[in-house]
Symmetry: D3
Amino acid sequence: MMIAHSFRGEVFGPAQRLHGATYVVDARFTRSELDADNIVVDIGLATTELGQVLSELNYRNLDDMPIFAGINTSTEFLAKHVADRLADSVHNGSLGEGAKGLAGIEVTLKESHVASAGYTRAL
Amino acid sequence: MMIAHSFRGEVFGPAQRLHGATYVVDARFTRSELDADNIVVDIGLATTELGQVLSELNYRNLDDMPIFAGINTSTEFLAKHVADRLADSVHNGSLGEGAKGLAGIEVTLKESHVASAGYTRAL
Amino acid sequence: MMIAHSFRGEVFGPAQRLHGATYVVDARFTRSELDADNIVVDIGLATTELGQVLSELNYRNLDDMPIFAGINTSTEFLAKHVADRLADSVHNGSLGEGAKGLAGIEVTLKESHVASAGYTRAL
Amino acid sequence: MMIAHSFRGEVFGPAQRLHGATYVVDARFTRSELDADNIVVDIGLATTELGQVLSELNYRNLDDMPIFAGINTSTEFLAKHVADRLADSVHNGSLGEGAKGLAGIEVTLKESHVASAGYTRAL
Amino acid sequence: MMIAHSFRGEVFGPAQRLHGATYVVDARFTRSELDADNIVVDIGLATTELGQVLSELNYRNLDDMPIFAGINTSTEFLAKHVADRLADSVHNGSLGEGAKGLAGIEVTLKESHVASAGYTRAL
Amino acid sequence: MMIAHSFRGEVFGPAQRLHGATYVVDARFTRSELDADNIVVDIGLATTELGQVLSELNYRNLDDMPIFAGINTSTEFLAKHVADRLADSVHNGSLGEGAKGLAGIEVTLKESHVASAGYTRAL
């Protein structure tokens, strides 16, 4: 996804100016035993759900989105946002019945080939 | 480099909104014979010059920069901008005497691991 | 795309057995001058057309497809197949009016991170 | 390795047809203290053993292999198969004496640059 | 970083000869809660500190460095060396006040696109 | 391949000291028409020949090799060395009869994920 945003805080230096980023977003699902189809999760449904979460952010200026008002939308923060949204998808059944057996989710946002941030959570 | 910008034209769809991008920028220099040190170009100087060109764009909203007024700052356009600036560096000697023997420059901007654009020119 | 196939000819060794491959397919379009929108090609349309061409091959046993009867569906051959189909898309207008100014297409199929083949053609 | 196979179960959609995949296979070995040579494992032996395990699957139609009869040979399943075989190699000494101190193995199969599955186990 | 070194021990085969390696070094920092700026660590400071640690090794023959006398400077060993030095940076405040809340560090040295080693430690 | 070497000339800065490098080496073969088996080259033979050329350099200090006496063994120079050796293999038949129809060779040496050099020649 490609977004624009700015940061508040001296630690961000020139990134306090409005700038942008391409994030390549990976989601990893974990479980201790495979489901009845011998898979961890339905990769088709997982791709659709992840795409849905990202489409709400893609091609936007995050500074203008009410849900992020007053928040530094750091890569770390966005990783947690995406992971929590996918956790909701697991719990509400959007990832299928088999997904009820998932143990955890890890979401990684790659800003470039040298910088990335991720968030890991249990389900 | 990480920039913000927007596009004008129906072809751009949601990218007409202010959004952003991380560009991983590669420069490739070509010549028919190596120089006296057995190299194509001084990679230290080339890295410095490329860094200089990118620093003028990094962490900026390109829509606000006078030199890009009225221009769609597409990845393709930016690749040409960077290549032309590096060609200036070759011609004004900033890349060293050996660089006078260079034949061409190719600049590639990777928006993500699936999309990129480049520009190739002679010197 | 993920396909199954087999090869005929001693040169292929164990690949004469029915096996399979994941191909990551990249298409590169070239032109001498950018179009009126400052782009090489509408990347949305190009992605759709490429996806269309690949969908006809994806998850199939190429040995069973009449159009490939008696043909070694090597990576090299498939690269040409895809490039020629995209050239058709350019000529029939599926890639938009701006695409009429394209000069060439290069299609690369990566079998893995160490093996790939490609085909380059003029338009 | 390059294999052909098909899946049973609606969740697999078009992948229920016979198709194929290239898997790039990585093995990661862990331990709490390095061995007497200051290494985790003899990378030469590990590469040989991994190559041996993969050679039994490479260029084959997994649907025809008796050991996989009635099994969905998903990427997840194959990751466990490879990890368990490498664990056998550790226990029977094929990875050398130093390998007796290994704590765990993680095997990852990359289907493409956007899809992969892995299996992690203790030793 | 690019270094020269040799190994002692039969397990290393031809790598007992003086040879060299390019290591692409990644550092990953972990914590349970983000700091006041919504980040894990100041990536600018982290990059500077990592660069400082690597500059002491870069373009050197490790066999000639007194601190490594009698030690096999394996990739695994070097990963621990770098991680321990970064841990010092966290504890002495070089990574900023926010870094005091870090929980762990993982350092990975990639020798090539097929071989890497890492070290993970708590803080 | 992993080698040690040093450079002569101020342009090389700290790389004048004995240091080392991992080179990931890719060879690309081109031709205008595919051969009778529908391939560009026998990838098995090509891999063997390339491996043979690299094995003569791997795990060595290039400064000590008579064939490189008095030569800056830059990445650019080594790319030409490898390409010329592969051209010999084509001409002496080591790459098979089909290889007689090859038009060109391009060899690329990647020092890291940000630096590489290559050499392109006709056959």
